[in-house]
Amino acid sequence: QDIVETIWQNYVDKTPQRVKLLDTFMAFLIVVGVLQFVYCVIGGNFPFNAFLSGFSATVGQFVLTASLRMQTNPENKADFRSISHERAFADFVFGSLILHFFCVNFI
């Protein structure tokens, strides 16, 4: 109980605001994805391609956000010296647009 509280307090204090923003977005994506999956389990996956595209939209977006987080986290500066934050963000936007295009078509 205490350990969880300590971890949570550490997280709130130490992480920069931007990373927290990323984390909230990722949490939101997880919620949406879980909702879709629960609906699939209950209501069946009749238009299967629709289920796939809806679910993979959330999952893909989550992956892209995770990579953006990795690339912009100040603690990882050493690993990503050649990639500026802007570059990471541009990659993120580009990848997200491709993902959205694919999902809207596939549905």
Partner: protein
């Protein structure tokens, strides 16, 4: 002069009162020339209905049923010969060929004359059995004519035949009694779907050979009661008709005008003439002849939905798609005396359309939509099944005493094209996923806005720190 011409014209018009639907050349085979006079009224009746009668004897050298491979006559009337055979031109094979090429035959039998083996084997081909005893006739001790056969009881008096089935129209009903002297009884087999009984013997009759003196003749009769048919009708698959008339004598002039009396009845005139007219009317295709006219089918969807204007419709296309709505129509006529008239099936019956590929997917009742002068238009609206392939629209109407109607139209039914599938927003099951995607995109747009908005703040912070 003018009245004479008018009279002649009127006379000509009245001659042609009931024509056969297929043709009016009738060949009569009679061995004995003198016998012709006995049937003069019968032949006069036939000629009055427009038949061109040619009389021949079986051994006549000019007799030929076929001319250049095609039947020379539309109808054949066979009277029982005195000699053993019917001659080389009337063998069983020739008669079967004659029927297979569409001509009709009326065979009259008599117990006084022997039945040639060619005839009885021909009848066996049709699944009609005759008693093997030569000279056997049908006897009835309760329905005989007291005036002419009070001791031998061989002249049967029969009530008018009526069809017991609700869905079969009666073509042979007459008023009064029919006299059948010296009749040959036939037994119909169960195997043939083409046989129908026109006139059955009463329940108290049996087949008996008067020449048989031994007492055990009655212990094992060939047939009894309503098993015995006196007039049997056979209609082949090509609708050619073969009637076996059990008593040739019933067609004679004497019996057309005789007065008869049942054992417990009063004296009355026979209805033989009327009955002969009905039986020849059916056999020679004046009655019970159907025809299927124009068949039309079209796609009842989209721009063509609910139109009946033939000029704008694409009628009888060869390809449809699965689950298309199709409208099908066929015109049916029945021959009435000298013209085609609209056909109505009996009240309990339906003409049906089968939509089938190997086996029927739909079997639908055709609805009579409208009557034209010559036909009834039967229509059906249906949805093609969810199966692609080659389908037949098949109307098959086979009923006793009616010619067969078989009309088959073959169409291709294709599957959905790649752009004919329903779009995902039209499928209600996909809405949660569509919602999920757009929620994700909306969240992403909000995140990008937030990220870009808070960037300056961070830079300033960093700048501030420096």
């Amino acid at each position: 002069m003018r009245s004479l011409l008018l009279g002649l014209l009127l006379g000509l018009c009245s001659l042609v009162s009931a024509l056969s639907a297929v043709g009016n050349k009738l060949l009569v085979i009679q061995e004995d020339e003198s016998e012709k006079d006995n049937y003069s009224q019968f032949f006069k009746d036939l000629e009055a209905r427009g038949f061109q009668i040619s009389h021949r004897t079986p051994k006549d050298s000019s007799l030929s049923l076929f001319l250049h491979g095609v039947p020379a006559y539309s109808h054949l009337l066979l009277f029982p010969p005195k000699s053993k055979g019917l001659g080389p031109e009337l063998t069983a094979n020739v008669l079967v060929d004659f029927i297979n090429q569409g001509s009709n035959v009326l065979l009259a039998l008599s117990s006084d004359k022997s039945i040639p083996s060619a005839v009885s084997s021909l009848l066996l081909e049709l699944d009609i059995s005759l008693s093997p005893d030569r000279g056997s006739l049908v006897v009835d001790h309760f329905n005989y004519d007291t005036k002419s056969a009070s001791d031998k009881h061989e002249v049967l008096l029969l009530p008018s035949p009526d069809s017991s089935r609700q869905d079969v129209k009666s073509y042979f009903g007459v008023q009064g009694l029919i006299a059948f002297p010296h009749s040959v009884g036939q037994v119909l087999g169960n195997a043939s779907p083409f046989l129908a009984s026109v006139l059955k013997a009463p329940a108290t009759s049996y087949i008996y050979n008067p020449k048989d003196d031994s007492g055990d003749a009655l212990e094992d009769p060939f047939a009894t009661g309503t098993q015995i048919n006196l007039v049997s009708a056979f209609q082949a698959r090509n609708s050619a008709r073969f009637t076996v008339f059990g008593s040739a004598e019933a067609l004679q002039d004497t019996w057309f005008t005789a007065s008869v009396q049942l054992p417990n009845g009063k004296s009355e005139k026979t209805s033989n003439q009327e009955f002969a007219k009905k039986v020849t009317g059916w056999t020679f295709k004046e009655q019970g002849v159907l025809k299927a006219g124009a068949i039309r089918h079209w796609l009842d969807e989209g721009a063509q939905k609910s139109t009946t204007d033939l000029t704008v419709l694409d009628v009888n296309p060869s390809i449809y798609r699965i689950k298309n709505d199709v409208h099908y129509s066929v015109e049916l006529s029945e021959w009435q005396a000298d013209h085609w008239a609209p056909f109505t099936p009996p009240a309990a019956d339906n003409v049906q359309l089968e939509v089938s590929m190997l086996s029927p997917f739909h079997r639908l009742n055709l609805v009579p939509k409208q009557h034209t002068a010559n036909a009834t238009l039967y229509t059906s609206d249906f949805k093609l099944p969810d199966q692609h392939g080659i389908f037949n629209f098949y109307v098959e109407y086979r009923r006793p005493f009616l010619t067969n109607v078989e009309e088959k139209v073959t169409v291709t039914v294709r599957h959905f094209a790649h752009d004919e599938w329903p779009r995902s927003f039209a499928i209600s099951g996909a809405w949660p996923w569509i919602g999920g995607i757009w929620v994700t995109i909306a969240g992403w747009v909000a995140f990008v806005a937030l990220w870009l908005w808070c960037k300056p703040v961070e830079e300033k912070k960093v700048a501030g720190k420096r």
